[in-house]
Symmetry: C2
Subunit: 122 residues, 2 copies
């Protein structure tokens, strides 16, 4: 039968050795669970149609908003409300779980060299 | 502005000292994020209208299905497909994050002394 457990670190171990990598690991209804590894500075963007959730699994994320900065460490989560501009950065790098409806573009309404057309499964 | 981080252990520290406790900690669109603390044997049930996701934050969960048993530890997750009967048990106790649409009853289609009519925020 289908339901099997998913081990986050086992999934992360399959990612390429790059500063930014995103892969889908599970679906719940029409929502995707994605693992994200990131180091550096992302771009300002927002998602006009949906909230999105980050759960930090390792490292540290600095989530920039236009009017404040939120530091997130392992064992913490944040829900980015739809339409709210944000920019994650990380000097040390972070590993996170990202939850949002299927098909959401990683850079939201902004087209950039960081835009991923189609996110693969791992 | 609204988006603030949520620290799981800080939220768990506010739960009553009982073997079973569930509280809402966040919403993403119409989905609820709930923290669950559980020790003992839950009841067989299913959710006819939705998948649900457990992310184990601490301890060990034994997720029983009619045809198999899945052991889940910290750093692991499982998506229970809609309509699939399941029963979580835990000798040691576990802490988990539960993600599903708002208003889903904890015991699914089964009414029992474990049924919680209205889950509160913490």
């Amino acid at each position: 039968m289908q339901p099997s457990k998913i081990n986050f670190m086992e999934k992360f171990s399959k990612l390429p050795d790059e500063d930014y990598s995103v892969r889908i690991i599970a679906m719940m209804n029409n929502y995707e669970f994605k693992i994200v590894k990131f180091k550096g500075e992302f771009i300002w963007h927002s998602h006009p149609d949906t909230d999105e959730t980050f759960i930090i699994l390792d490292g540290r994320m600095m989530m920039h908003f236009r009017d404040k900065l939120v530091e997130l460490n392992r064992g913490e989560m944040i829900v980015i409300p739809k339409g709210v501009e944000h920019k994650p950065t990380s000097k040390e790098g972070y590993k996170a779980l990202l939850i949002e409806p299927e098909g959401v573009t990683n850079t939201g309404e902004v087209e950039s060299e960081m835009t991923i057309k189609k996110i693969e499964w791992v």
